[in-house]
Each structure stands twice: as structure tokens, then as C-alpha cells.
């Protein structure tokens, strides 16, 4: 077993690692600035093709985590593998397989949209493989992000939403296997947000791109992510699909109905039993029935509150024992 691994190791350097390897593996990641611990032991993995959302209150360490994975920040301790490579020592080939969506401000203001994307694509041509043709054809790319009518415009003339679409285009021009999105839709109007979500879905479906995103928008996380990580106090306090997470907190469902023109609201742990009883009692008189399960927002708040009241460590341990 060991021998096989040793023989395989050199090949992994030049060839793209096997598909069954996780895209991101983080084990006990720690980050300390001076005497402040920002990350106190973050562990998680992201499989290839998975869309993972990293949630958490401000200052929880989301951006620090993502910047360490991008190779932009050197960690204090812990094991990190991004596409099989330590991001602290990633070479240019590794870099060519990543996409980072940065928030533009006024950079490249004099460049035309098409000119800029064509230029940035040049850097990826040496890293084209038979499986992944790099870079993305510039006109297809502009079309994919919906900037075709603005291809000839200068970047400084774009609106906020158009500029963010350009940011995404720059992030994916090299057809990344792994894409980082740090608060991608901050400042979007609802329509731009919807278009952006469609774009992310397309990337995840067609190109099987692994995506790690941070966001404050819980609806967005629920819509986009296969899996959700909640980061609080420098560690992951919850990890699972939106469904799994909501089942883990004993949040009440909300039942709304009307009877004889009056409206009622009731919170209950067992909505099915409550509604059955309701019908038995009033039958036909019940109208406008609505049952709302705990939303991701409720779940998220429950986790964060639980963490803040200091019970997170024991709760997490209990959960792990149950799942084991």
C-alpha cells in the first residue's frame, strides 16, 4: 500500500489529480494574528462538483478561510489541500485550475470588456488540457455572463451589476475546476441576483465546477448550495445539507389557518399531528391552511445562538456520537 502510494506520488505533480480526490480538504486549520485567534481549528472537505456555502456572523473567519484556500494568506497551522496541493506552495499550474471572483472597484477602467477578457485568457493557454480547453472562448464567455451588448464598452462605463458579471467572467475565464466566490451578490438588486444564481447553477451543472462561496444571504445559500457550513468563533459548528441541518435543530414549524374569517397562527414541534387534530375538530371550517417548516434562517439562528450560549462544543460532540 505504501509502496504504491510512493510510486504514484510523482505522477500526481504533473497530471491533474484523480477525480475521486476531494477538491478541498481542510484539517484543523488555525490562524492567529498577533495574539488573536481567528480560526481555532476548521475542518471540512468539499467533493468535486459540490457547491458549498460558508455561512457565519461577521468576524467569524469566513474571508480568512477563503483567502487561505486561495493561497493569498499563509495559515498559522493545520493541513490544507486544495485540488491536492498545499495552497501555501501552489505553483502556476495549480493557480491555473482555480478561479477567484474578486470585487472590482475601478481597476482596468480604461479597458474594454472584450479586450480585457481576451487578454486575461492568454495566461491560461499553456494550461489547456485535452479534457479542459483553456481559456474559455471569449465571445461564449461574454454571452454566458450576459454581457454581449456591452462587450465593446469600457469597464468604467458598466453599471454595478454588469461589473459584477464581469468579475465572474474574469474568475471563470480559465475554466476553473474550483471557483471561490466571496460574498458574490452583495449589493445586487433582486433581478441581478436571480441571473447570478442561474449562472452559478449552469457552472456547477455543465462544467462540474466545485464552488465554495461565502454569503450573508441565507436564501441564496439554500438555493445554491449542496452543503452548508456554519462558521462561528473560528470553527465549523455545523456541516450538512440545508435539510439535514434543519432536522438537527428542534425548531418549531409555523401553522397558519383561518376559520370563519378569523386568522390564526400556531407554533408546533409536530405540525402533522396538530393539523390532523385541527381538521378533526373543525373540519370544513378550516381554510387558507399554510404550514411553514423551519427555514434555513431559523436553523442558522438556532445554531449561532446555541454556539453563543457556549453549548456548541458539547452539542457537536453529541451529534457526532449519534451519527457514528
Amino acid at each position: 500500500m505504501t509502496v504504491v502510494r510512493q510510486l504514484r506520488a510523482p505522477a500526481a505533480v504533473s497530471d491533474p489529480p484523480d477525480d475521486d480526490l476531494a477538491a478541498i480538504e481542510v484539517h484543523d486549520l488555525r490562524m492567529r494574528y498577533g495574539t488573536t485567534d481567528v480560526l481555532t481549528g476548521v475542518s471540512f472537505t468539499a467533493q468535486r462538483g459540490e457547491v458549498v456555502a460558508l455561512l457565519g456572523p461577521n468576524g467569524a473567519g469566513k474571508t480568512t478561510t477563503i483567502e487561505i484556500l486561495e493561497g493569498f494568506r499563509i495559515r498559522s497551522a493545520g493541513d490544507v489541500r486544495v485540488l491536492g496541493v498545499d495552497p501555501g506552495h501552489g505553483d502556476e499550474r495549480w493557480r491555473s485550475r482555480l478561479g477567484v471572483v474578486l470585487q472590482s472597484w475601478r481597476d482596468h477602467g480604461k479597458w474594454q470588456v472584450r479586450e480585457l477578457l481576451a487578454h486575461l485568457g492568454l495566461y491560461y493557454t499553456p494550461y489547456s488540457t485535452p479534457r479542459i480547453r483553456r481559456p474559455w472562448d471569449v465571445d461564449d464567455l461574454i454571452d454566458a455572463v450576459g454581457l454581449t451588448p456591452h462587450a465593446g464598452k469600457r469597464v468604467s462605463q458598466l453599471s454595478g451589476g454588469q461589473r459584477r458579471r464581469l468579475d465572474v467572467a474574469i474568475g471563470i475565464v480559465g475554466r476553473p475546476e474550483l471557483l471561490f466566490l466571496d460574498e458574490p451578490t452583495a449589493g445586487f438588486d433582486p433581478e441581478a441576483r436571480r441571473e447570478f444564481h442561474d449562472l452559478v447553477h449552469r457552472l456547477a451543472d455543465i462544467d462540474d465546477t466545485t464552488i465554495l462561496l461565502t454569503t450573508h444571504d441565507l436564501d441564496e445559500a439554500e438555493k445554491l448550495a449542496d452543503r452548508i457550513l456554519i462558521l462561528a468563533g473560528g470553527a465549523i459548528i455545523a456541516d450538512g445539507s440545508p435539510d439535514q441541518l434543519s432536522r438537527r435543530v428542534a425548531a418549531d414549524a409555523e401553522v397558519r389557518w383561518s376559520r370563519d374569517g378569523d386568522r390564526f397562527v400556531h407554533s408546533t414541534g409536530d405540525a402533522t399531528a396538530f393539523v390532523r387534530e385541527l381538521f378533526q375538530q373543525y373540519g370544513e371550517a378550516i381554510a387558507d391552511l399554510e404550514v411553514r417548516r423551519a427555514s434555513l434562517e431559523d436553523t442558522y439562528m438556532a445554531f449561532v445562538r446555541e454556539y453563543e450560549s457556549g453549548r456548541s462544543a458539547s452539542a457537536l460532540r453529541a451529534f457526532e456520537e449519534v451519527t457514528r
Binding site: 474571508t63 480568512t64 483567502e67 486561495e70 493569498f72 494568506r73 502556476e92 499550474r93 493557480r95 491555473s96 482555480l98 477567484v100 474578486l102 470585487q103 472590482s104 472597484w105 475601478r106 481597476d107 482596468h108 480604461k110 479597458w111 479586450e115 487578454h119 486575461l120 492568454l122 495566461y123 491560461y124 493557454t125 499553456p126 494550461y127 474574469i170 474568475g171 480559465g174 466571496d182
Partner: protein, 279 residues
Amino acid sequence: MRAARAGLTRGRIELRHTLTNGQDLWNYIFPAVLLLVVIFFMRNATVPGTSFSLGSRTMPSALGMNVAFGGLVTMAMALTVDREDGTLLRAKAIPNGMVGYLIGKITLVAGMGLISLTIQLVPGLLLLDGLSVRGASSWLTLIWVVLLGMVATMPIGAIFGSLVTNPRNMGMIMLPLMGLIATSGIFYPITNFPVWLQWLAQVFPIYWLGLGMRSAFLPGDMAAVEIGESWRHLETVGVLGAWAILGLVVAPIVLRRMARRESGSRVAERREKAMQRIT
């Protein structure tokens, strides 16, 4: 290799951008106009101890100064601005992007230097008496002085640009530079200055760039009013070469350190600060 070519392309595109917007065009033309105005007011003055026009002496000296200015200030400005607005971070996020960015920036700054040089030189040659380009050797001198001057100043400018984090702090560099220009014999010969000031001027590249440009354009006997009564080409190569070596050794270290620290949150921080200044 591919990244180097991409860098050249980048420099060419950005150079074209400078020729297609008013602000940049004005930045090219304004110094040329200013120089002509200065020389116009000097029209009746002569270089002390000679009957040679002071204006005609100032012209090549100012060209040398502008080479130094371009290398130091344009380069430093470009780096601080690109760092503040995230251009540099974009370069860092793509494979070999930093190599491409740097080559692009060198191409851009060198190109801008040559364009301004031409804009200032041509009217000078047409309007001023006493300036002579005496065949191939003059042009050769012009070329090596300009090239060596760029190599001597651009890395130093890049170092300043990496150390200054806020573009609005560029004054810290501009003020001493102005003082240096005043003592470097650009607008007036320094042979009458106190000796210690002459020595100070001769430490820095601006004096030597002025001297080198004068040697290319002025008649040979004008060397008599220079320090040591000679154009001192050997010393020019020595001092500019020393600055070039110093810059080329230190710049990569400083640039690498600066680039390593770039990240999205740093750019966001600076953006926040800049927004506060605006409102």
C-alpha cells in the same frame, strides 16, 4: 515565455489607452508646453561664462530630468494606484499574472517616457538655436543615456511604489524629488553651488541624466562649464549603473514581499478608506 508575451501585449494595450483619452493626452502635452514656456522666459539669458543660450542648455537637461521623473514617479504612482484598486490582486489570481503585470508595466512606463521625450524634443530641436544632433554618435549617446536612465530609475520607482500604500502619500516622494531637481543642475549649472551640494547632486541619477543628455545635444566645447570640464561619460555609466544594480537587486525582494501580502480583504479595506475620503 507566454506570460512575458502577454505582458508586452498588456503594456501595448495600456499604452494605446493613454493615447485615446483626454486626461492622459494632457499629461503628455502639459510638461512639453511648460518646458517651452520656461525656455521662452530664459531666451535672453546665457550660461555663465559663455555666450551660449541658457534655454538651449536647459532643454536637454530637462529631457534627462523627465526620464528620471518618468522612471521614478510614473512607476511608483502606477504601482500604488494598481495596488489600491485591485489590479495587482487580479494579476496575482491568474497563472504567471505577476510576471505579465510587471513586464506590462515596464513596457507602459518606458513607452510613455519615449512618447513624452519625443513630444518635448521635436519642438525643442525646431525652435532652439545651438542644439545640434551631430550624426550617429549623438543619437547613440541619446539612446544609451535614455535606456540606462530608465533601467536606473524604474526599479527604484517600483520600490517606492511598493512601500507607499496610499497614492495620496506620494507627496512624501515628490517633495524630496523637487529638492533634488533644484540641486541637480537641470535649470541652472551647479558649478557655482557649494561643493557639498554638488557632491550630493552627484550621488543621484537626475544630475547624470541631465549631463548625459547635454552631452548628446550640446556642442562639444560646452563641456568646459561642467564639473571636471568634461561630459564624464564613464562616471555617468558608473553612477547610473550602480543605481540600476541596486534597484534590480532590491526591487524583486520588495515587490515579492508586497505582492505576497495582497488579498481581497486588503483591497476591500483600502476601498473602504478611499470611500471615506470621497464622502
